[in-house]
Amino acid sequence: NAGVTQTPKFRILKIGQSMTLQCTQDMNHNYMYWYRQDPGMGLKLIYYSVGAGITDKGEVPNGYNVSRSTTEDFPLRLELAAPSQTSVYFCASTLGGSGRYNEQFFGPGTRLTVL
């Protein structure tokens, strides 16, 4: 199993450009997440999904959009990139299930710089 894969690894955007960060998992996990990591701030949840066709906002959703058309894929869309979106983005997944505590598996991250 490849686990959670993310593309691209690095990207530089100009202010106002758009892009999609790709995330794929091959573990048949139901739950998927997008986080951003800023120095000294920990990981902040942007959006999450509990299954195909179902998404919900996290702590910091403004400026981002997501979709979940399949169990495997959970792309994150940035519209009108701003310098405040410069960050490292992590995708994660977990199996989920009632009454269970599930380990989140993280991808390797995408380092995004907006200039």
């Binding site: 959670v4 000294g40 920990g42 999450y48 009454g99 505590y101 598996f105």
Partner: protein, 111 residues
């Protein structure tokens, strides 16, 4: 607003020493407390986790101590090794699979 407060921001320990990282929370509904370890350029990975029905959990050189009444929990790294140099995040959840992370602690183990 940080739901989980973590300290210190960084620490340096000699090889063989003990590293201690502390976390505090306010939400009494939290019922799952994992610690994640992150090496530079990598995603975080689960290290060890505890539920509030126990006060301590040990896995090898890593121990979580949990104090429910004080709403605090801590990670102890015994016999610290250079390979333990990483950033450690505490987190908390209340069974809806959304983790609230602390700000992270960068641990440097000097040989």
């Amino acid at each position: 607003q940080q739901q989980v407060k973590q300290s210190p921001q960084s620490l340096i320990v000699q090889k063989g020493g003990i590293s201690i990282i502390n976390c505090a929370y306010e939400n009494t509904a939290f019922d799952y407390f994992p610690w994640y370890q992150q090496f530079p350029g990598k995603g975080p990975a689960l290290l060890i986790a505890i539920r509030p029905d126990v006060s301590e959990k040990k896995e090898g050189r890593f121990t979580i101590s949990f104090n429910k009444s004080a709403k605090q929990f801590s990670l102890h790294i015994m016999d610290s090794q250079p390979g333990d140099s990483a950033t450690y995040f505490c987190a908390a959840s209340y069974n809806d699979y959304k983790l609230s992370f602390g700000a992270g602690t960068t641990v440097t183990v000097r040989a």
